[in-house]
């Protein structure tokens, strides 16, 4: 096995994997009055909540291991993302069932930040970007600070 040429030249490689989860949320902040919440969040503030089919993109970066041709094995990344994010978020009420959103509005900006935080401990590669599609029309991205 010759060392992967990708190591030799000045190329940067990333690998992006897409995952899906469905969850409910309600945009509502205790810092505002009911009237202010309604004005600010509109339909998203409906007291009973609503849900989305979220699509999560996780991008990892790092050297390609010449013996596997991989930045990280999906056999390691998939269970890590499942345990850190999909199991705790899928088919859950984000406001009620994810501790971090007890006092933090689960806008998809905040959900993306929380997921990015949860994935930073991936042992095998650097998670440099997280992108979430809340719907096919809205997406949110968190990455390493420039």
């Amino acid at each position: 096995m010759t060392p992967s040429a990708s190591k030799a030249s000045q190329l940067k490689l990333t690998l992006t994997r897409r995952y899906r989860f469905a969850a409910s949320h309600r945009l509502h902040s205790a810092k505002f009055t009911e009237e202010q919440n309604r004005r600010l969040y509109g339909k998203c503030s409906n007291p009973h909540g609503h849900g989305h089919n979220y699509v999560l993109e996780v991008t990892i970066a790092g050297p390609v291991d010449p013996s596997t041709g991989m930045i990280a094995n999906l056999g390691d990344l998939d269970p890590f993302v499942r345990i850190q994010v999909l199991d705790p978020f899928d088919c859950k009420n984000l406001n009620e069932q994810v501790a971090e959103f007890r006092d933090c509005v689960p806008t998809t900006e905040n959900v993306a930040r929380e997921i990015f935080r949860r994935l930073q401990t991936f042992p095998n590669a650097h998670v440099e970007r997280v992108r979430i599609e809340e719907t096919s029309k809205n997406s949110f991205e968190v990455a390493d600070e420039e």
Binding site: S4, A5, L11, L13, V64, G69
Partner: protein, 161 residues
């Protein structure tokens, strides 16, 4: 600066196997992808060229030219081929998304004479893709240290879960 992206699709077979590892290790690392009979994908390749549009033509580069380059360098080489056996540029490498993207970058980079190659994105499936770009500056030492600590904590947590 303007980025121009052209997409092509090719279908190819591959499997993952490292002859330096035992059969057992190959199965453990590569799982189903180690099946020696191979399997295939419909790869989707997006090639992005960046540059200033020529004031006379209004184009960064002639997309017809890019289409011809992709036809010759990518389609002729890989479409309906077995990547392990029929693509000499991948000899000695595992034909993963990462390695194929890097190989395509190396083939295309010298061929792009107007603008410069900005990104090669290769989808193995709609849910998995590799991006190849020119290496950015080294991450700051503090970022590396943060990564190292986070990864160390991750290893511990993962072991003890």
């Amino acid at each position: 600066m303007v980025r121009v992206t052209r997409k092509v699709e090719f279908s190819a077979a591959h499997f993952y196997h490292n002859a330096n590892l035992s059969a057992e290790e190959n199965r453990r690392i590569f799982g189903k992808c180690n099946n020696p009979q191979g399997h295939g994908h419909n790869y989707v390749l997006e090639v992005t060229v960046a540059g200033e549009p020529d004031p006379d033509t209004g184009m960064v580069l002639d997309l017809k030219e890019l289409k011809d380059i992709l036809e010759k360098e990518v389609m002729d080489r890989m479409d309906h081929r077995h990547l392990n056996y029929e693509v000499p540029e991948l000899a000695g490498q595992i034909p993963t998304c990462e390695n194929i993207a890097a190989m395509i970058w190396r083939l295309l980079e010298p061929r792009i004479t107007k603008g410069r190659l900005d990104r090669v994105r290769l989808y193995e499936s709609p849910d998995l893709f590799a991006d190849c770009t020119a290496e950015a500056a080294e991450p700051a030492a503090s970022q590396k240290e943060t990564d190292r600590k986070a990864q160390e904590a991750g290893r511990r947590a993962w072991r003890d879960r």
